[in-house]
């Protein structure tokens, strides 16, 4: 008999490409229900599209920061000073106005215009990886050959991180967000990652390059501590690895399961824009936004929640809410799905969304045009997923052509 510990927490449960039907059941009955998170804590899970937007846009009552003395069960006792240093620069752990102060330093790097300027370089990186895949010959693991290395190289170049060091930081990134790994081990990975980033920050302080780290030093070096620089850069490196890569892997799998829609994305240049939005909506690879903590007694959908409680919002559930979109279970790349919550909502809406969109806009059609006969080289039922990971995706994906 399968025991509970082998199953991820409810908000992370999936059935291959679909969220668990249990989420739908909650959405249809009460919107909000108490569930147990990965650390055994009782939390409130919010499942309806409108309720999720209400939570994410109300940073005064639903805070990203943690009150003094807040501890996660299983976390080792860390001195206050070390904890403050480890939290510095983490935009996802801050509320306005501190959050906006740091975010504003970065937004110029992710404008739509900047992404257009990056387009040729991303296309070149994609082509190089397709060449390597072609030379290797089928079957290949699409995750290792395509989905992971492309966003990895792109964020490294943007940020100013040597790609040659990738073995270490790719391994750290993946394991850091794997909730089945004990907290002390994950904290150690975070610490190692920060040590590595501190070296790069030191280098940028001495000799700022033409990258985001260099820009931060040149334009904001006096107002940012080294801890903040390390925190910001570590977050960008992590986010650059764990998001687009899973979208490319899981998105390719979704398209392979819907051959007519795959053909549209491959053959019609106008199809990719709306297709990306539908892939984001339907797959919703981020199970939940960063948990919020209530700063006062609140009520969501008639359910009272006391102050000081953790609130999780289920992005896959919100994105499949029939009050948000018709036939939510249907995957239809032609509809575009504006208003989906895959990038979150409110002030913490994904900073890198324009970059992620640009990477997908280039990578999906290029892959499908290079290998028009692309197919899964393993049984669909055998595909392994990262089921305990903060962000969902395939562990690997064997493809042929």
């Amino acid at each position: 008999m399968t025991q509970a510990p082998e199953l991820p927490p409810l908000h992370m449960r999936r059935d291959a490409l679909d969220p668990t039907p249990e989420l739908r059941e909650i959405r249809e009955t009460s919107s909000v229900r108490t569930v147990v998170n990965a650390f055994g804590m009782q939390v409130y899970l919010v499942t309806r599209h409108e309720d999720i937007k209400d939570v994410l846009s109300d940073h005064e009552r639903f805070s990203n920061s943690r009150p003094p003395g807040f501890v996660v069960p299983g976390a080792p006792d860390i001195p206050d000073e070390e904890q403050a240093s480890a939290r510095a620069g983490n935009l996802l752990g801050l509320d306005p106005p501190e959050h906006q102060r740091l975010r504003r330093m970065l937004t110029g790097e992710f404008t739509i215009r900047r992404m257009k300027r990056l387009e040729p370089r991303i296309a070149e990186i994609v082509d190089q990886h397709l060449d390597a895949m072609e030379n290797a010959g089928p079957p290949v693991d699409l995750v290792a050959r395509f989905a992971l290395p492309i966003p990895s190289l792109v964020i490294c170049e943007l940020l100013g991180v040597p790609y040659d060091d990738r073995d270490d930081f790719q391994r750290r990134s993946a394991r850091q967000l794997d909730l089945s790994i004990p907290i002390p081990e994950r904290l150690e990975l975070v610490r190692k990652g920060r040590e590595y980033m501190a070296l790069l920050v030191g280098r940028a302080r001495r000799q700022p390059g033409e990258d985001i780290l260099g820009m931060l030093v040149r334009e904001h070096g006096a107002e940012l501590t080294d801890d903040e620089l390390v925190g910001i850069a570590s977050l960008l490196l992590l986010a650059g690895h764990e998001t687009t890569s899973n979208m490319l892997g899981l998105g390719t799998l979704a398209l392979l399961r819907h051959p007519d829609q795959l053909a549209a994305v491959r053959d019609d240049p106008a199809a990719i824009g709306p297709a990306i939005e539908e892939l984001l909506r339907w797959l919703s690879i981020v199970h939940s936004a960063i948990p919020r903590i209530t700063t006062t007694d609140v009520e969501i959908a008639g359910v009272p929640i006391p102050a000081g409680q953790l609130v999780f919002v289920s992005l896959p559930s919100g994105n499949r809410d029939p009050d948000f979109i018709d036939s939510p279970e249907v995957f239809d790349v032609r509809r575009g799905a504006p208003g989906h919550l895959a990038f979150g909502h409110g002030v913490h809406h994904c900073l890198g969304a324009p970059l992620a969109r640009m990477e997908m806009r280039i990578a999906f059609p290029a892959l499908l045009r290079r290998f028009p006969t692309l197919s899964l080289a393993e049984n669909f039922d055998d595909v392994q997923f990262r089921s305990f990971h903060f962000i969902y995706g395939p562990k690997s994906l064997k493809v042929a052509w």
Partner: protein
């Protein structure tokens, strides 16, 4: 139809530019800029969509 943008609230998600590039742009820092005094004919739906999609609720229809 006119639109207003609160540049202090803008978080540079870029959704408005995606939805209505004839009406909205981003400055060098990514902050929203309203390009037109009056929303051009035929762009009203796009402008409304942009207002609806803004994750930080920085946009509104002025009249």
């Amino acid at each position: 139809m006119k639109v207003e943008a609160d540049r202090d609230v803008c978080i540079s998600a870029g959704n408005c530019v995606m939805a209505a590039s004839a009406v909205f742009d981003q400055d060098e820092d990514g902050i929203v800029v309203v390009l037109v005094g009056e929303v051009p004919e035929g762009e009203e739906d796009h402008a409304r969509e942009a207002v609806k999609l803004c994750p930080s609720m920085a946009l509104r229809i002025a009249d």
